[in-house]
């Protein structure tokens, strides 16, 4: 990261902090790479953002000694909804509205990047990229993606490792495996098999991404049906093999949130 920033003559880096583990790890890496004076964190809460997310993000930025801004996105988000209300008349709210929020954030971050000459770091991890759990022009915006080749399970391990050197990522970020407002997802596995189950929070459509054996394509399973109260959806078990020598089983994430696979 340091070389990409310096060899391209950027004046440091800027990162959007969500209070989640990916942006937390990316921030820690950036500060280790180029120093706190060269890194800025930006928090962009929406009407749906939990207070603990903002608190955790602020705590990490303060611990690391980076400049920290809070730019709420309610105004641009509302403006877009108003602008598009005629176009969306009669259509139910769906992922579109979530994506508009993400794109508000992407625009703000890129504007800061342009104005300040700091490269925007994308915080996406390999599992998200593999299953498309990212928003084009939203959280995918950025000039360099340091953890794009890191599966989600390794993201957690790297964060734990970094905290063993000295604690910079708030413990609560590491312990949260789902976000408020999304449904909880559990998965369990044993060699060769992986099952994901989820409680629905009123959504009928859930998407799970599962990495299969290296020779197979990434599997995506959609369930359109709530099977049984209390809204458990059982995803069919898929055979998976070791794709990562550090981990054994692969990790899956979905629309309802992210979950850790167990080896």
């Amino acid at each position: 990261m340091r070389d990409y920033i310096e060899k391209n003559h950027f004046h440091g880096a800027v990162i959007g902090l969500s209070g989640g583990i990916d942006s937390a790890l990316t921030l820690a890496i950036a500060v280790d790479a180029i120093g706190a004076e060269q890194v800025e964190a930006v928090m962009m809460p929406s009407r749906y953002t939990a207070d603990i997310s903002i608190e955790d993000a602020r705590k990490e930025a303060q611990t690391l000694g980076v400049t920290y801004r809070v730019i709420p996105i309610e105004a641009p988000f509302s403006a877009f909804l108003t602008l598009l209300q005629d176009e969306f008349a009669g259509l139910a709210p769906d992922a579109t509205e979530e994506n508009i929020q993400a794109r508000c954030r992407g625009l703000i971050l890129m504007a800061l990047s342009n104005k300040l000459g700091r490269i925007l770091l994308t915080t996406g991890n390999k599992s998200e990229v593999a299953v498309g759990y990212m928003t084009l022009y939203g959280d995918m915006a950025g000039g360099f993606a340091p953890i794009k080749d890191v599966p989600k399970t390794l993201v957690y391990r790297l964060a734990e490792y970094r905290n063993r050197r000295c604690e910079v990522i708030p413990r609560r970020i590491l312990e949260r495996s789902w976000r408020k407002g999304l449904t909880r997802t559990w998965c369990a596995g044993w060699p060769g098999w992986w099952i994901a189950t989820s409680t629905s929070a009123g959504r009928r459509r859930q998407v799970y991404g599962l990495r299969a054996a290296p020779s197979a394509a990434t599997g995506v399973i959609r369930s359109h049906q709530v099977i049984w109260p209390p809204s458990w959806v059982v995803v069919a078990a898929l055979s998976v093999t070791r794709i990562d020598s550090d981990f054994g089983l692969s990790y899956g994430c979905g629309e309802t949130g992210t979950a850790r696979g167990h080896a």
Binding site: D3, K7, H9, D149, S245
Partner: protein
Amino acid sequence: MSPLPVNGSAGLRIAMAQINLLVGDVSGNAQQIVDTALRARDELGADAVVFPELALTGYPPEDLLLRPGLHLHVLEAIERIKRTIRGITMIIGHPQQALGGLYNAVSVIRDGELLARGFKQHLPNYSVFDEKRYFVPGIDPCVVEIGSIPVGVTICEDIWTPGPAQQARDAGARYLININASPFHTGKGVEREEVLRDRVRETGLPILYLNLVGGQDELVFDGASLVMDDGGVVTQRGAACTEELLLVELDVVDGGIRPRPVECARLACVTTSRRTTSTVQS
């Protein structure tokens, strides 16, 4: 030339320059090569200094290699290096145009003269590599005497198959130098050691494995150079992801070459200020 003793010091010190270069900045890389060679000669007392694969252009230069102007810059840089440095043998990777096409080459230079030139035989074309897009393969070994000892100089992928190392041994090499721009992935270090151990087993020759350091887009060249003796034992390791000048001294033991680390002579290399000053100026 006096014959080598059966036992004792061969009197040869080789510096391995594990340095961070900048893709496309031929003149900057050449200056860094000159500065490093002077440090190796004057501060470490090295007789020879080794630089990574395609050191003059940086790695991977990709479609810059299709620009004729790049090759003029490379030629000028080689001439400048030849004119500037005396008293130390330099082993430098660079692209070389020749009658057959463009080669991934290594030149062995001393006191203004080109002693030998080698061309990479196995061109990797998988994963992050697409060398066949630019280069044609060489076919001959590159064996040259440095301090009276013949050494086989190979480039990167050539050490991953048995052929070039055996060719070099058959042409009289007593040890091997392998220059690299080898990107990191999880477990790569172990893979490298296993491959080198295979080559050592097949040829009976010790190997000096030098790697590039630095980030280039999504590739990380992790340094971690190493020296392996003819028993497959790693006698010396370069640091990971850090610029360094490692010094190896060659001894002769029972007629064979035994590399010995000169641990106290390990210089940290600090990349020249061209990048930071450029940042300030922009």
